[in-house]
Amino acid sequence: MNSTTVPENRVEPIGYAALLVMLLVAMIAALLASIATGYAPLDIGAAARDVLHGNDTLSALVLVQLRLPRAVLGALVGFSLGITGAAMQGLLRNPLAEPGITGVTSAASLGAVVVFYFGLAGILPLALPLGGIAGAGLSTLLLYGVAGSGASTMTLILAGVAINSFFGALTTLALNLSPNPYAVSEIIFWLLGSLSDRSLQYVWLVAPMMLAGWLLLLMTGPALDGLSLGEDTATSLGFNLARVRLLLIAGTALAVGSAVAATGSIAFIGLVVPHLLRPLVGHRPSRLLLVSGLGGATLTLLADIIVRLLPVRPELKLGVVTALIGAPFLFHLIWRLRREDR
C-alpha cells in the first residue's frame, strides 16, 4: 500500500495486503471443508456438476439445501462477529469489548425469540432479523449510555454483566410464555448458537442486513485509528465522534442482530479473533476490521466442522466449541493483564 521509494514504516511480519489475501484463502478453504463435512459422504464434484446442469439428483439437493447454506451462513455469521468485535474494541478502546461480553448478543436473542415464538416471523419472515437488530441496537445504545467510551474495564464488564443478565432473563421468560412446549428447552440454542439445518432462506434473509452492517462498521475505520490517541485528538483530526458512535451502533445492530437471529448467540469469536490478529496489523484499529471479519469467518467454520466430526448425538451446539476455545483464552488474557499490573 505505501510507496516503496521512501523507507517503510511498517515492520509487521506480513504486509496488510498479503495478510488479507492469506485470510481470504484460509476462509475459502474452510468454506470448502465445511461443505465437504456432513453426516454421510457426498461426492461434491458430482453434486456440483448436477447443480450446474440442472439435474435434480439427491446429491444436488443435499449440496444446495443442506451443505451450502450451513457453510455460507457460518462464514457470514463469523465475519459479522469478528468485525463487530474489532469495531467495538476500537471504539471503546478496550480489548474486552465484544458483542458477547457486552450483552449485545443476549439482547439480539431476545428480539429474535419474541418475533419467532409468537408467530411474527411466520407472517413476515423479515421480522426475524429485524427483531434481532432491534434487540442488538437497543443494548448497544444502553451500553454506550451506561459505560460510555473510554470507560474503565470494570465499568464495561459490569455494564455487560447487567445487560447480559437482564436480556437473558427476559429471553427465558419469553420462552416460558411461548405456546409451544418445545420452546422452553430451546434456550440452549439461543444461548450457545448452532448452524444446524439452517435453510437457504436464512441466508437470503440476513445477508443484506449483515452486508449493510459491515459497510457501516468499515466506515468507522479511520476514526478508530484517530481514537487511539484519545477523543480530543481524534476530534482535532476531523472526526465527528457522535457520528462515529452512531455508525458503530447501527453497524453492530445490523451485523450482530441478524446473525443472532439466524443462529443464536455464538460466544467468543468477537473476542478471540481481533485479539489474535491485532499484532499482525500493527495494532491499527482500521486494518483490524476486515482482517477480523475474515478471521472470524474462518474460525466459525472450523468450529462448525469440529461440531459435525464429534460423535455426539444430537449434535453439539456451536457455542460449546467456541467456549472451549474462548474461555481458556480469556483466562490467559486475565493472567497477562495481572502480570502487567505488577
Partner: protein, 263 residues
C-alpha cells in the same frame, strides 16, 4: 493566518471557568498560556481548537467562524497536542506519526507519497527517525512526547496548540521539546503552548498570556508579564526573578499570606 478569540466565556454548570477572554495568535509567533491550576488554560485551548463550543463569544480563523470553516478543513489547519499523551494501542512509532495525516485522507486510498514525505519531515524535525520501528509502550517519557509532537507536526497545519507538552519530562527533554516548538514557530506555524514552568515560558515564548480565575491578568512580552506583582496576584506565591548567562529564571520562593477578607 490569524486565530482570534473574542469574549470567550465558559461555565461548567454554575462555575464560570472563563469570564471574558480575548486572545489572538498569528503565523510565526509562539504564545505561552500560563496561570495556576484551574485557571482555565486547558479549557481556553480546547475552545481555540474547536473541541468545545464557548458559552459566550466566538473564535475566528482568518475572519471566518470556526463552525463555518467546518471540521474537515479545520483539522488540516489546526493541530492539537493533548495533555497526558495517552496512546491506547501499542502501535509502532512510524504508524503513530502517520496518524497525523488522517485529516488529509481520501476515501479508499491509503497513504499517498505526499503523506509519506510529510511523515518523514515530521519525524526528522522531532528527531524520532531512529525510533521508527519501536513500540510506543517501550519508549521513555521524553521519547514518547517527541513522537506525539511528530504526529502533530505531520498534520502540517498552520497552527499548533499544545497542552502542557513538557509537564512530565526531565530538564533535557524539556529543553529539546521547547526548542523544537520554537523552531516550528520560526518556520511559520502559529504555536500556542500551555505551560507551568515560568522559566521555559519566558525563554522560549514571544508573547505570554497570564490567566487566573478565568480572566487575563497580564499579556505581552515575557518581561512585562512576569512581574512580581502580576505573579503574586495570579499564583498567590512570591516569585524570585533573576537572570543567569543572559537567560531569565523564575523560582517560587514562598507562599503569600492571604489578603484580609479573602479565603
Amino acid at each position: 493566518m490569524k486565530l482570534e478569540a473574542r469574549n470567550i466565556a465558559v461555565s461548567f454548570g454554575q462555575t464560570a471557568v472563563l469570564r471574558s477572554v480575548d486572545l489572538a495568535v498569528a503565523s510565526g509567533e509562539m504564545v505561552g498560556l500560563i496561570g495556576p491550576n484551574g485557571s482555565g488554560k486547558t479549557t481556553l485551548l480546547r475552545v481555540l481548537a474547536n473541541l468545545r463550543a464557548p458559552d459566550g463569544g466566538g473564535v475566528t480563523l482568518d475572519g471566518r467562524d470556526l463552525e463555518a470553516v467546518g471540521e474537515r478543513e479545520l483539522s488540516k489547519k489546526i493541530a492539537y497536542l493533548a495533555q497526558g499523551g495517552d496512546v491506547h494501542w501499542p502501535m509502532r512509532v512510524g504508524a503513530l506519526v502517520g496518524l497525523g495525516r488522517l485529516p488529509h485522507r481520501r476515501a479508499f486510498r491509503d497513504q499517498a507519497d505526499s503523506d509519506t514525505a510529510a511523515i518523514e519531515r515530521a519525524m526528522y524535525a522531532a528527531d524520532v527517525v531512529s525510533l521508527r520501528d519501536r513500540t510506543m509502550t517501550h519508549l521513555s517519557g521524553g521519547e514518547r512526547m517527541r513522537v506525539l509532537l511528530a504526529r502533530a507536526l505531520a498534520v502540517e497545519a498552520s497552527l499548533l496548540l499544545a497542552d502542557e507538552p513538557v509537564a512530565a519530562l526531565d530538564p533535557l527533554h524539556q529543553l529539546r521539546v521547547m526548542e523544537l516548538l520554537r523552531d516550528v514557530a520560526r518556520g511559520g506555524t502559529g504555536v500556542i503552548v500551555v505551560l507551568h514552568d515560568l522559566s521555559l515560558a519566558a525563554r522560549f515564548c514571544d508573547r505570554l498570556v497570564l490567566i487566573a480565575d478565568g480572566d487575563i491578568i497580564a499579556e505581552g512580552r515575557p518581561a512585562d508579564v512576569l512581574t512580581p506583582a502580576s505573579l503574586a496576584r495570579a499564583y498567590g506565591v512570591d516569585i524570585v526573578c533573576g537572570v543567569s548567562e543572559g537567560l531569565p529564571f523564575y523560582l517560587p520562593q514562598s507562599v503569600r499570606p492571604p489578603i484580609q477578607g479573602t479565603p
